[in-house]
Amino acid sequence: MRGQSAVGMNGNFWDSCQSWDELVGRCREAAFDVAFPTVRAWKSAAADTGGRVVGCFPVYTPQEIFAAANCLPVNLFGGRGQIEIDHADSRIQSFVCSIARSTLELGLTKHLDAFDGFIVPSICDVARNLSGVWRHNFEHSFTFYLHLPQNVESEAAAEYFRGELERLRTEVAQLTGAPITDTALREAIRTYNRNRALLDELGARRAARPEQWPSSQIYSLAAAGNVLPREEHNALLERALALGDAQQRPKRDAVRVALRGAFCEQPPLELLDVLEDAGCAVVDDDLQIGARFFQQPVAEEGDPLAALAESYLHRTVLTPVNNPGKRSRNEDLLRRCREKSVQGLIFASPKFCEPALYDSVLLRRAAEHVNLPVLEFEYEEKMSVFESVRMQAETFVESILFFS
């Protein structure tokens, strides 16, 4: 039943979208509705087969394991600025990032009643403690804390993480009541590899012709994947690639920028529009990076869990919350900037996000060392006033356009 459409329509629903704008519009409806309509639809369609829904906290969760078990893994990105932090405020203090507070709020306000479980990877101190708070407040639901090794070069880590995935596999099997076969896992890996390839293709096309692929729009296309089965998202993305090229937009005189900091808490869509209005063309970003976390496909043969473990340890995009091992975050970022001929670097850190705030200091130094202009500001998922960001972005653009 994994071909099942989440929007409760036939599998080729997305092919029926005739225009780019219609496609983007539908994605927005599906992706940013905190009532999770597509998830509820999927749940009711999967009811007879015992399908389960599990919410995944950023950044990285091996969703293949859920997909292989007749589960719908849903990427949770907090309240998307649409809900008030009300009940959660008495559980997590105000100096903690919005996403942790609003994700808990989603749970406490019954937005997640279609969900059967929650998984938190060990990305930071907040996420780690959130797992305990979650377990305390939702005692009877499935809560899994996933330990992501922080010493990727140690062979002990590979073995331990393989075991960690095995434990997850066992617990998920208990949740659904059916064992998870290697064959099913390999199929899921193939589907996710395809999904990552399509997302990368989307990014590549934007990098080639930014005016053609407005960031907030391709963001919405990618975001739909958070609440859809991957097969369906793949169909959607294929349609998008077909429709996108047909678009004709005037070429704009803009500065090519790389955006960093949004690997976990997501900015409001308006922020992306404001940046592009101000004359930035975002050609590289780490938005919703979890969906395209691996730089090469996960091995589709052999032991699937070992393959997932190996990919996590050695083929990931470098973020502030995974250990680079022998690699270097600075070089990684500067290389990507060169490849995409980036003219300016924007560090947009979520307020109170310590990992992002620590890294931006070191990365900024590295960028300035090669005379790559840097703009830094903070955002919150619930921000609604963009005047200050707009002005900073415009000044940044002016400093590059007028004086070079």
């Binding site: 704009r252 005189d253 005047e387 200050s388 002005m391 415009e394 000044t395 400093s399 004086f403």
Partner: protein
């Protein structure tokens, strides 16, 4: 080249700075020399303020409107100037303006009512790095207004008074509002007003200088914005920086001046090339 110069109309460029409180306009001729400046209250409708300011400027300089060939707007209302050719942010303009006022400027510190900004600028006027402090309590002007009220003294006196301080009192609160109660606590603890005021000025200086350091302050440092008129704050800033800062009575016009300079630059480019469009 001919011996008889052909009669031709002189052409001008203008910069219009639409601030929250005041709208200022400044006129440059083709050679980039200033030909006039004017200011008026912004009021509720920036469009109207901008329009009237420009008209007054024309009258003031006695020239027909059509002789102004390029107009750059800046300030918070920059998008609401209907007749602009381009809008530029106040940060870019302040940098260019400050550089015109003090050619050796490498750092600009713009302290406004609520926001403070530090800019590191190249000799070209290009903004190399900048930091804005638009977090709570960053507002220098507003903070002083609050302190003045709670001390029951005139705003224009606070700077003067603070300079007489022998023993400045610390004010630590991050929130401008809560800082008031600290001020009141000092008062009731019987501390002299000038010491409390100096403390308030110091705490503002601390915050804005943090911005300056973050952009990597290089001399010379030029101070712009409304609070430049407050010697107390200027003194507090200089004391903490351990160096003099440039302050000019014209600094209030730094934004309009910068806009005008960039307008002229842009117009000249347009004259000999067709640049790409920016919205």
């Amino acid at each position: 080249m001919s011996f008889i110069a052909e009669p031709r109309t002189v052409r001008y460029v203008a910069g219009v700075d639409v601030g929250t409180r005041t709208t200022r306009a400044l006129l440059l001729n083709e050679e980039g020399e200033e030909c006039g400046r004017i200011s008026r209250e912004t009021g509720a409708r920036p469009e109207i303020a901008a329009e009237q300011t420009l008209q007054e400027l024309c009258i003031h300089c006695g020239l027909p409107r059509e002789h102004i060939v390029y107009i750059a707007s800046t300030g918070y209302g920059r998008y609401r100037v209907p007749f602009r050719q381009i809008q530029i942010t106040e940060m870019t303009c302040h940098a260019v303006g400050a550089l015109r006022l003090f050619p050796e400027t490498r750092t600009v510190l713009d302290v406004g009512a609520m926001n403070s900004r530090a800019l590191r600028v190249a000799d070209t006027g290009r903004v190399i790095a900048f930091r804005m402090n638009d977090r709570c309590a960053s507002g220098a002007g507003r903070f002083l207004e609050r302190v003045a009220t709670s001390l029951e003294i005139q705003l224009d006196q606070v700077g003067e008074l603070s300079l007489r301080s022998q023993d400045p009192q610390p004010i630590s609160s991050i929130c401008a509002v809560l800082a008031e109660s600290e001020v009141i606590n000092h008062v009731t603890a019987g501390k002299p007003v000038e010491d409390i005021l100096r403390g308030a000025h110091n705490s503002i200086a601390e915050r804005v200088i943090a911005l300056v350091r973050q952009v990597g302050a290089l001399p010379e440092i030029t101070l712009t914005g409304g609070v430049t008129r407050n010697q107390g704050l200027v003194a507090a800033i200089e004391e903490r920086l351990g160096c003099r800062v440039n302050v000019s009575p014209d600094s209030e016009y730094a934004g309009a001046l910068g806009a005008a300079i960039l307008a002229r630059q842009r117009w000249q480019r347009l004259e000999n090339s067709t640049p790409a469009s920016r919205n």
